[in-house]
């Protein structure tokens, strides 16, 4: 076997340029597969860390479009009473916070910015594990008093051209209404569906009665269970309370939805997976083309070396000896291409991370699979040329010019 590999390496070295060009197909194919999978894996990891950051134990209740005999009825909504009902019944187990959100004009001195303004309850702070960089969060008294106080996300001071420390205690305008800045949040990092760093938080009552006006339509109500294991129980509890609030008879389709963060992410993940699969598929096609290139060059090699095959056979090489010789040559070419391809893929992935700042993760199993796959391509596309060599008639082969 060692001899066979040495012979294969010698043959590859003898046609170095041709071997390199042939292998290029495999190199590019494997490299593309590795880079694409790394990209998909990176996106996956990022989303996973987003779930963890945004809380794995939070359920989101959203108003759903209600349908009555096929006609959308507009009066199905989530309001503050629903949130109070939930708090009355379940507040001893879960943290509950309704949310009203709107994108509004915010100004401070000569600075203007358009930000997402969130009206909510003080409990919101705990549900999302926020912490303060400066100042403090608003309290229950400020909620009851409909006070004009605002807490800024970590990026907002920059939008307003002022360091966070200097903003606390100052007055900013939200939709032209003066608000006192009482705190600035620690940077949180974003997720695909929410960017707390860019948001401004004010008491829900203030938002409803002083700023936004659409007083009884909540965007959502967040319910945080003490642990992810209690999510199912929480789901049932919420469903029961909100159904009663909406006077839905049992069996009637709900006019609201309860999602957990992983449900929301499911959608992102699915489209991400489809995308990765598509990219890897395209890369796989180039791997196939590379394999055909290998087969082509092996056929040329067999024809060129017909006389050598004749000599080897005359000297006692069996069919198996010749078959192995050419198969190992194809295999060595492909595995060599695979190894170079892995290097190219890892390099490509780190370039993507560096210049496009997309997360990439090189999964070791992707590397192993790519190598095994390229060896498989060597076997699959090498077997036919090798067989042609093996069944050559020694007399004809010796006579071949």
């Amino acid at each position: 076997m060692k001899e066979t590999i040495l012979v294969a390496l010698a043959a590859i070295r003898a046609n170095a340029l041709r071997s390199v060009l042939t292998t290029l197909g495999i190199v590019i194919g494997v490299g593309a597969v590795i880079a694409m999978v790394a990209l998909g894996e990176g996106a996956q990891r990022r989303i996973q860390s987003q779930i963890e950051r945004m809380g794995t134990n939070v359920l989101t209740v959203r108003p759903g479009q209600g349908f009555f005999r096929g006609v959308a009825s507009g009066n199905r909504r989530l309001d503050e009473d629903d949130a109070y009902a939930l708090r009355t019944e379940l507040g001893h187990i879960y943290d509950i916070a309704p949310e009203l959100e709107s994108r509004l004009q915010v100004s401070y001195q000569r600075w203007n910015s358009s930000n997402s303004v969130v009206g909510t309850w003080p409990s919101y702070y705990d549900i999302y594990n926020h912490s303060m960089a400066n100042g403090r969060w608003f309290d229950e008294g400020e909620l009851q008093g409909r006070r004009r106080v605002a807490v800024l996300g970590a990026n907002v001071p920059e939008d307003l051209g002022t360091p966070p420390g200097l903003l606390v205690g100052r007055t900013i305008q939200i939709r032209g209404i003066p608000f006192e800045v009482i705190g600035v949040l620690e940077e949180k990092g974003g997720a695909a569906w929410m960017q707390p760093d860019d948001q401004i938080f004010i008491p829900l009552s203030t938002a409803m009665y002083r700023v936004m006006g659409n007083r009884d339509r909540l965007r959502s109500i967040y319910v945080a269970a003490p642990s992810p294991e209690q999510l199912n129980a929480a789901w049932a509890d919420i469903d029961r309370v909100v159904r009663r609030q909406h006077r839905l008879p049992p069996g009637e389709e709900a006019d609201f939805s309860i999602q957990n963060s992983s449900d929301i992410l499911q959608t992102f993940n699915e489209s991400n997976e489809t995308f990765t699969l598509l990219l890897a598929g395209i890369a796989g096609v180039s791997l196939l083309v590379g394999g055909i290139g290998i087969m082509n060059i092996m056929l040329v090699s067999v024809t060129e070396r017909t006389r050598e095959i004749g000599v080897r056979k005359a000297l006692g090489a069996t069919k198996t000896d010749i078959l192995l010789q050419f198969l190992v040559e194809a295999l060595v070419l492909c595995v060599l291409g695979g190894v170079l391809g892995v290097l190219a893929g890892v390099g490509g992935a780190s370039l993507i991370t560096r210049f496009a700042s997309w997360d990439t993760v090189i999964a070791p199993q992707a590397v192993v699979i790519a190598l095994i796959f390229s060896a498989g391509i060597g076997l699959f596309f090498g077997i036919w040329p090798a067989r042609r060599a093996a069944i050559l008639d020694p007399i004809d082969a010796l006579r071949y010019e």
Binding site: A10, A14, V311, K313, A314, L315, G316, T318, P394, I395
Partner: protein, 242 residues
């Protein structure tokens, strides 16, 4: 018909053919290249097979060299019946019992002289150390001890043929089969090569030499002339060694 035995050897039979025939098809035509050859060659003989082109000489040589199987008849090589073996078994017989010397040398151009000579031993499964030892010994024997690391393109025609002879001998075969070994050489180099072959025979090597040159055939101890696929004449050379 009894196989003819005009042997000059020591009595042990290396080649015995009985009614050996080879037909093949060229389009609709059947070519009867060998039509019943009975021949016996004893160990230690040096036989020249002669004949004009079309005499079936090449086909006969392929049969004797186990590169081809006969259409009919039987062939014993070194005591084994080889006329009905499979391709792979024939490959093993060639590896073990036959050493080939070709007109065009047929060396691997990219391999060193040493590696070329080792080649039959690789297929015999000999260990690397023993291969090197034996190949070196044979190269020294043909006078190329100082050219072992050279590749064929760096060697003269005569030197290449000597590498080929060393390769043919490396498995200590029962039969050395030389097909026009001097066909590509000038007369001086031809004489050198024939002297080596003659010397091998004197050391006891059984040799079958296929040639169409009567000068070369005269080195042999016995001549077998083929015509139309049959043995036309079979006689001992009167003068051995020119």
């Amino acid at each position: 018909m009894e196989p003819q035995g005009v042997g000059t050897g020591n009595g042990k039979v290396v080649i015995r053919t009985q009614g050996l025939q080879k037909h093949y098809h060229l389009g609709a035509e059947t070519v009867r290249a060998v039509q019943g050859v009975d021949l016996e060659i004893a160990a230690g003989e040096f036989v020249a097979i002669m004949g004009p082109s079309g005499s079936g000489k090449s086909t006969f040589m392929n049969l004797v060299g186990c590169l081809d199987t006969p259409t009919a008849g039987e062939y014993w090589l070194n005591g084994n019946k080889v006329s009905e073996l499979s391709d792979d078994d024939l490959a093993r017989v060639r590896n073990r019992d036959i050493g080939f010397v070709f007109q065009t040398f047929n060396l691997l151009p990219r391999a060193t002289a040493l590696h070329n000579v080792e080649l039959p031993l690789i297929y015999a499964g000999t260990s690397a150390r023993e291969r090197k030892e034996r190949a070196t010994a044979k190269l020294v024997r043909v006078g190329l001890g100082d050219r072992m690391g050279h590749k064929p393109p760096e060697l003269s025609g005569g030197q290449r043929q000597r590498v080929a002879i060393a390769r043919a001998l490396v498995n200590d075969p029962a039969l050395l089969l030389a097909d026009e070994p001097t066909g590509n050489l000038d007369s001086e180099t031809s004489a050198e090569i024939m002297d080596i072959i003659l010397e091998l025979n004197r050391a006891g090597q059984t040799i079958v030499l296929v040639t169409h040159e009567s000068d070369i055939a005269r080195y042999a101890t016995r001549q077998v002339h083929l015509k139309d696929g049959r043995v036309e004449r079979d006689f001992l050379n009167e003068m051995v060694g020119v």
